[in-house]
């Protein structure tokens, strides 16, 4: 079975952890994330008739107090860049993060996730911004930790891009 390392990146409290909580296998408590800045989970997806193990590094969100530990990204084959659709500035943080990651590690497949899409009436992202985000990496997906919308597709899309060509 093929195994890949992938990361979850994004601003503080965009719902990264809740996004995966329902969809992955976990054995570690979430307190690791606040203490060492990362928690490792696992997700098995089936792509092109084979099971692929994704070892998922859920990295503590970047904010004014905590900078992204770039060394945690070493060796990853892909990542999710998560933003909160109800807070416009998280998209800006995500775009800046993406640039930083690309500068440090080169082009790595990623999916742009606009999370909390169940909160339609609080949606703050302009169609223009969404289109812009979709032009990056493997495109953008609206996701919701609450309804599960888009989550499986996001994993599939990323896993497919990570498979050796």
């Amino acid at each position: 079975m093929l195994t890949f390392k992938m990361c979850m990146l994004g601003s503080f409290s965009v719902g990264k952890t809740s996004l995966v909580r329902r969809f992955v296998t976990s054995i570690f408590s979430e307190k690791y994330q606040t203490s060492i800045g990362v928690k490792v989970d696992k997700k098995i997806v089936r792509v092109q008739d084979q099971d692929v193990t994704l070892v998922l590094w859920d990295i503590y969100g970047e904010d004014a107090f905590q900078k992204l530990q770039m060394s945690y990204l070493r060796g990853m084959s892909g990542y999710f860049m998560v933003a909160d659709g109800t807070r416009h500035q998280t998209v800006d943080v995500a775009l800046a993060l993406e640039q930083k990651v690309t500068e440090a590690m080169g082009r790595i497949p990623f999916v742009f996730l606009l999370n909390k899409c169940d909160l339609v009436d609080q949606w703050e992202i302009e169609p223009e911004t969404e289109k812009n985000a979709a032009a990056h990496g493997l495109g953008a997906l609206r996701t919701s930790a609450k309804t599960g919308e888009g989550v499986d597709e996001a994993f599939l899309r990323l896993a497919l891009a990570m498979l050796p060509k």
Binding site: I27, V40, K42
Partner: protein
């Protein structure tokens, strides 16, 4: 040496053929010469030609080639084995041999069975004997431990932790055991190979390996970036995690107990060899751990274990010593059981005793994890069970109380609550019966008012009885009234002016009346003071009544002058109709010439 020929042999190079052409064509050589040359050539190169023809035919002939190889194949294999170890050869031959064996077993099982029979018999016997021996040994060990003091301790531990006894014995007898080995790809933190010792329940290796490299990364980045080998060991309760890393890989070992330092050297050696063997695979790693399955042979020897010294079978002990030890153990066991039984009995008695305490309700009493768990309810005013525990001589940490607060409706608890909320003065005694709160004694009107106000709000008080509760002001008022009514102000015969010696009595009467007025207003009652004038029976009958009235008026005017409110007084003359004494004596007659007081106390009208 190369043969020279007119017909270029098949193996001659084209340039050599060209070089010969200019020699042969321009010169007209006689046939004899030609023949001689041929002869010479034959003489010189014939042996070689034959040799070459022989070699050529050997190469073309499959049968002969096989014959040639067969003569050196054994030596070749031997040489190869000596040259670079047995691995490569075994790897090359392994699959074929496996296939052959598989085929052979499928097609001719009997042949193989016959061939193996002489070795299988003893092998099976040996295996059975070995299994039996180890079973017996572990049975002996278990028996021995179950009778020793340590064995009992271990049994207790097994009971406490819920682990099988065998596991507890193993855990204590082991000096150390390497339970898991991880081979981790350093860059990605992905697990390449993972081995576990028998009967070890391993967690998900992918996640453990990932987290381990995250922690390593964290320690490296966050604590000390200069030292690459900073994180060699992570200690946890019950086991250690040893980590070694090379440029491409990390080996981590989960070790229960205390492994010797030379185990780390072995880890390093294995890591170096693995790094060497798989250096290309490490660099080309793209998520497929398949190529690293072969590393198992290298990693497996690291899953080692060592028993504690002294756990090995020693020389047989003398039975006498064993009997003595058994006796001591049995006695100890009996003493211990007695102790436990007594302790349980004492605890049960305590728990039952708790039930008798007002304001405490015990719903359950069990022993969990070695501690008594006492559950129920407790009124905040009830006695503290922990204090009771200490008073009874128990160790406080042997018990845990889970008592939820509640309001007890027991009379004694309601009484406690009432006392706390009402703070009765010293002269008042509160009592409770069937929800009725009774107050007995003397209290200030303020407190009585507070009692009436608050009592209905106290949980558990349904009725209030204050019939036996006296108002302290009323009592004081009564006392003053009695004092005033005992005063007799004496007048000389036929006069309405006080006897000269009576001024002091009047002053005291004024004082008492002043007190009376103050107390009446405090007790919230209205007082009316009657001034009753008397005469003796001497003199004219008709003069008695007016004189007595004059005497009462005279006292009123004196009191009014001293500042009392006239409306509270009613002067009245009764003449001789209410004599105070018989007039048989002069003193009796004297006392009848007087003014006395009568005090009426009435509840204050609502308007006041």
């Amino acid at each position: 040496m190369r043969p020279v020929e007119t017909n270029p042999p098949p193996f001659e190079m084209p340039e050599q053929a060209q070089r010969r052409a200019p020699l042969g064509q321009p010169q007209e050589t006689p046939k004899d010469d030609n023949h001689a040359l041929e002869e010479l050539r034959h003489l010189i190169v014939a042996p070689e030609r034959e040799g070459i023809a022989e070699i050529s035919s050997r190469l073309d002939n499959l049968e002969r080639r096989a014959e040639d190889v067969s003569s050196v194949v054994v030596e070749a294999i031997q040489m190869r084995r000596e040259h670079d170890g047995d691995r490569a050869l075994a790897d090359a031959l392994g699959p074929t041999i496996e296939d052959t064996l598989r085929d052979s077993v499928r097609k001719h099982p009997q042949v193989l069975a016959d061939a193996l029979f002489p070795v299988m018999g003893p092998a099976i016997r040996k295996s059975i004997t070995e299994t039996l021996r180890s079973m017996l040994e572990s049975f002996n060990e278990a028996l021995e431990h179950s009778l020793s003091l340590q064995g009992i301790q271990w049994r207790m531990e097994a009971l406490r932790t819920g682990k099988p006894f065998a596991e507890v014995v193993l855990m204590h007898s082991l000096l150390y055991r390497v339970e898991e080995i991880f081979l981790i790809h350093k860059e990605t933190g992905l697990v390449l190979n993972h081995l576990t010792a028998p009967a070890v329940a391993a967690k998900d290796a992918d996640m453990v390996a990932g987290m381990l490299s995250a922690i390593k990364q964290f320690a490296h980045d966050g604590l000390n970036a200069d030292r690459e080998e900073l994180l060699g060991k992570i200690g946890m309760t019950g086991f250690d995690l040893w980590v070694e890393d090379s440029p491409h890989a990390i080996i981590a070992a989960v070790i229960r107990g205390h492994a010797p330092e030379d185990f780390r050297i072995r880890m390093k050696e294995v890591l170096e060899k693995t790094e060497e063997q798989f250096s290309f695979a490490f660099e080309d790693f793209k998520g497929d751990a398949g190529p690293f399955r072969a590393a198992e042979d290298r990693l497996a020897p690291l899953l080692e274990a060592q028993l504690r010294e002294g756990q090995e079978r020693g020389p047989k002990r003398k039975p006498r010593a064993l009997i003595a030890v058994s006796c001591v153990v049995l006695l100890g066991l009996a003493a211990w059981m007695t102790y436990v039984t007594l302790a349980v009995h004492k605890w049960t008695a305590f728990a039952n005793g708790l039930k008798e305490h007002s304001g405490i309700v015990i719903t359950s009493f069990d022993k969990e994890n070695g501690r008594y768990q006492i559950r129920g309810f407790r009124d905040p005013l009830a006695e503290d069970p922990a204090a009771l525990l200490a008073k009874e001589g128990f160790v406080a940490r042997d018990a845990e109380f889970h008592l939820k607060p509640f309001y007890s409706m027991e009379d004694s608890m309601v009484l406690k609550r009432a006392k706390l909320l009402l703070a009765p003065p010293a002269g008042v005694k509160l009592s409770m019966k069937d929800g009725k709160l009774s107050a007995d004694g003397v209290a200030s009107p303020e407190w009585i008012a507070r009692l009436q106000d608050r009592a209905p709000w106290i949980a558990g008080v349904t009725d209030l009885d204050i019939t036996r509760l006296q108002n302290s002001e009323v009592i004081a008022l009564d006392r003053t009234k009695t004092a005033i009514e005992s005063i007799v102000l004496v007048f000389p015969a036929g006069k309405a002016v006080l006897e000269p010696g009576e001024e002091a009595t009047l002053a005291s009467a004024q004082q008492d009346i002043g007190n009376l007025m103050v107390q009446a207003s405090r007790a919230n009652v209205r007082v009316q003071v009657e001034l009753i004038g008397h005469t003796d029976s001497t003199g004219l009958e008709a003069a008695h009544l007016p004189l007595s009235k004059q005497r009462a008026d005279a006292i009123l005017s004196r009191l009014t002058r001293a500042g009392v409110k006239p409306s509270a007084f009613r002067p009245r003359g009764v003449g001789t109709s209410q004599p105070l004494h018989s007039e048989d004596t002069e003193e009796g007659r004297r006392l009848n010439r007087s003014v006395t007081f009568h005090v009426d106390i009435e509840p204050a009208s609502p308007a006041n």
